[in-house]
């Protein structure tokens, strides 16, 4: 099974507004996929549906061998169990970092493995130090989030998500809240993880990053996938007028 993420005919409404319409795509193992598109186009909603922070009205989501189907089913209890299984396989990185402010960087990274996976503190810390080294924060392990820069906080958040050893990493605009000078260090980590074979799905406005590092680009507008393909094709010769317009506005 090479396709590790499979999304089929996903629909989601907020009241009368259709946030997602028949969204269908797959992501192959080790691929880095970047979702681009205008604000309000459904990018974040899509990502949040993939780890159950948002329910959806119809369709299905499969990650690895765990499947979520339309949420309001009578098997709500099964779904809850499924949801937790799924979340263990999916790491999530938020625009606002959402680090736990009352824990040090190290505690942020060991808490979930200890609570959810039952790892011993010793094992969890060894693993956390390895990850902190990977994101360049090994000497910030005992700092509190409020003592770190934005870029450092986001790197810590990535380490925290990686600590659960997920199969897939989701990023919801991970650099949007950062000072421009700090964006690079976060993108650097994502490239590094890509090199190591991590499957990643990134909602981003960093077009240069998307073009250079992305294996696939999804252009999402008005809740539907307008265009989907490798970056060279999507950036140099977009087939759809809406894509062309978006990129034109963007690079103007």
């Amino acid at each position: 099974m090479n396709e590790i993420i499979e999304v089929g005919r996903l629909n989601k409404r907020f009241g009368t507004v259709a946030a997602l319409r028949d969204v269908t795509f797959t992501v192959a193992k080790s691929e880095l996929t970047v979702i681009i598109g205008p604000s309000g186009g459904g990018k974040s909603t899509l990502l949040r549906c993939l780890n159950g922070l948002e329910t959806f009205d119809s369709g299905r989501v499969r990650i690895g061998n765990i499947t979520l189907e339309q949420h309001n089913s009578p098997q709500a209890r099964d779904l809850k169990a499924n949801l937790r299984q799924l979340r263990k396989e999916v790491g999530m990185v938020f625009q606002a970092f959402n680090l736990f402010p009352h824990f040090t960087v190290l505690e942020n990274a060991v808490k979930a493995p200890m609570i959810v996976k039952g790892l011993s503190r010793k094992k969890a810390e060894e693993w956390a130090y390895e990850l902190l080294a990977k994101v360049g924060l090994e000497n910030r392990a005992h700092y509190y989030p409020s003592q770190l820069s934005g870029g450092q906080q986001q790197r810590a958040a990535i380490a925290r998500a990686l600590a659960m050893s997920p199969q897939v990493m989701l990023y919801d605009e991970p650099t949007s809240a950062l000072d421009p000078s700090l964006v690079g260090e976060v993108l650097q980590i994502m490239r590094k993880l890509d090199d190591e074979g991590m499957t990643q799905l990134v909602v981003s406005h960093e077009m240069r990053f998307a073009r250079e590092a992305g294996d696939k680009i999804i252009f999402l507008d008005d809740g539907e996938i307008v265009e989907y393909g490798p970056p060279e094709q999507l950036f140099t010769s977009p087939r759809n007028e809406r894509t062309r317009q978006f990129l034109h506005n963007y690079f103007q």
Binding site: L53, R87, F100, H102, A112, I115
Partner: protein, 516 residues
């Protein structure tokens, strides 16, 4: 200006009143507590607007003797003497026992009635026949009464004091008390008619009631003594007592003595007028400390700490049920919070203490006090927690869930630790408040700091000095908890940069500046 106007208005009013009052006389204002009950001064059961009692009859008889109209002034019984000294009325006539303590503060007329203390027990009880049999028993009586002192003097008795005789006899009937000791007239009216109770043993102690008069009013004292002597000699006073069923051998003996040598009593009541020097005052204050610190303060601390422990734990359960529980329990939690916050603590305590026994649940005073305060404050703590939990950004819960935690795990390790820190200042506030509110439990017979204060103050009629002393004790006892809360808050502060000044003050070093 204003004052002159006031004087003018008052003199105009008194002019208006002259035709109503008997010519050339001033009203005789007498203080009493109609809540005290039969047979002294009490609302007429057939016409509650109207007060009756043997002391009402006595007051009227005195008024006739002195040719003055009598006016009744209501006051709390334990405030009768302070009220007299404030000038709210001219005399106190309400079962006031003549005691040495009181004679230091006011003058007493010759006694107008003599009686004894009477023990009551349940009809089924055959073990109690005298004071000596009360060792190890729980005995009820009225607050600040002579009977209370009689019981205190006897070692090994668990004394429970009440505001009203009804509650005491009720608790005797339902088994919370083993015996009740009260003035014979009260027992006659409240215990004797109760088929579940009976008198036991002979007369205990000796009580004489006198009329209280201000020390600076010797003329009135003389007039009253003359009038009383006349009423005794004429047999009018005996008639009053016979009418109320109160004529007894003690009073008969007393009246014989009055006839023989009334001068004795006048001398007796005029004694002890000496004022205390400031050294003696200071010594007296020092002598209060063992009672305040040894008896009152530990009880206040015990009730407050256990009450607050109940409040913070049960409050947390309420808040979590309200926020995350299924529909019906959440609604029940909300209703509990609203009702407990919206109704008076005093009434809740009464219901727990006096109401629950009829439902077959009889809590000891201490447990009732802790449960009452704890449940009441739990409602407030629940709202403190709710506010704090809701102040934590939603992203925290989402981040925890996305790491695979269950909602409960996320609450325990992510949300609550942050929320509790936010809740510390309002919860500390409530603890201080509860600490002081705990004085209310004296209504269910608990003797804590404020009750000890009340007892001392009413014994020595020194509400200000002892009041300041008690307030200082409250303040000093509360301080360590305030400090503890501040320490906990600083300890739990993770936003080191924002709280640097606080941190520096506590630990001597500021936060290390962040790199980058």
């Amino acid at each position: 200006m204003k004052r002159n106007l006031l004087v003018l208005v008052i003199s105009l009013l008194s002019l208006l009143r002259v035709p109503v009052a008997r010519a050339g006389t001033v009203d005789l204002r007498w203080g009493g507590d109609a809540e005290g009950g039969a047979p002294y001064v009490f609302p007429d059961p057939s016409n509650p607007q109207h007060i009756i009692g043997f002391e009402v009859d006595l007051a009227n008889a005195l008024g006739q003797e002195l040719n003055r109209r009598t006016v009744f002034v209501q006051n709390q019984w334990d405030g009768l003497i302070p009220g007299l000294e404030r000038g709210d009325y001219d005399i106190v006539l309400n079962g006031l026992e003549i005691t040495d303590d009181r004679k230091r503060e006011i003058n007493f007329t010759i006694p107008y009635y003599a009686t004894t203390e009477q023990l009551s027990v349940r009809k089924t009880d055959h073990s109690i026949h005298s004071l000596a049999d009360l060792k190890g028993k729980i005995v009820g009586t009225l607050k600040f009464s002579l009977a209370e002192r009689v019981l205190e003097r006897q070692r090994g008795i668990h004394v429970r004091t009440y505001d009203g005789q009804i509650n005491a006899y009720e608790d005797l009937a339902n088994g919370r008390l083993d015996a009740v000791l009260m003035d014979w007239p009260i027992a006659l009216y409240y215990s004797k008619p109760d088929p579940k109770l009976k008198f036991t043993g002979g007369p205990i102690s000796h009580i004489e009631y006198g009329i209280g008069v201000r020390k600076n009013d010797p003329a009135l004292l003389k007039q009253l003594n003359g009038a009383l002597s006349d009423l005794i000699r004429s047999g009018d006073l005996k008639n009053i007592y016979e009418k109320w069923g109160l004529w007894n051998s003690e009073t008969a003996t007393l009246f014989a003595q009055v006839d023989a040598n009334p001068q004795e009593y006048e001398n007796y009541t005029r004694s002890v007028t000496r004022k205390l020097t400031w050294q003696e005052r200071l010594k007296q204050y020092a002598s209060y400390l063992p009672l305040l610190l040894g008896k009152g303060a530990p009880m206040t601390l015990l009730i407050s700490i256990l009450g607050m422990t109940l409040a913070v734990t049960f409050g947390l359960m309420l808040a979590l049920t309200n926020l995350y529980g299924p529909l019906v329990p959440a609604g029940a939690a909300r209703a509990f919070i609203e009702v407990m916050r919206g109704t008076p603590l005093l009434i809740q305590l009464y219901l727990i203490f006096y109401g629950l026994p009829s439902a077959g649940m009889r809590l000891s005073p201490l447990v009732a006090a802790i449960v009452g305060l704890g449940l009441n404050y739990a409602a407030y703590e629940a709202e403190n927690y709710r506010g704090a939990i809701q102040a934590i950004p939603r992203g925290q819960m989402e981040a925890a869930l996305s790491l695979g935690m269950t909602r409960a795990q996320a609450l325990r390790s992510v949300i609550l630790p942050q929320a509790i820190r936010l809740a510390i200042p309002p919860v500390t506030n409530d603890f201080i408040s509860l600490f002081k509110d705990s004085s209310i439990v004296s209504v269910i017979t608990m003797v804590e700091l404020t009750k000890v204060y009340g007892e001392l103050a009413s014994t020595y009629y020194d509400y200000i000095g002892i009041g300041l002393l008690t307030a200082a004790i409250y303040f000093l006892l509360g301080l360590p908890f305030v400090r503890l809360a501040r320490w906990a808050e600083a300890k739990m502060t993770f936003d080191k940069a924002a709280s640097a000044p606080l941190r520096r003050r506590w630990f001597g070093v500021g936060a290390k500046p962040a790199a980058g």
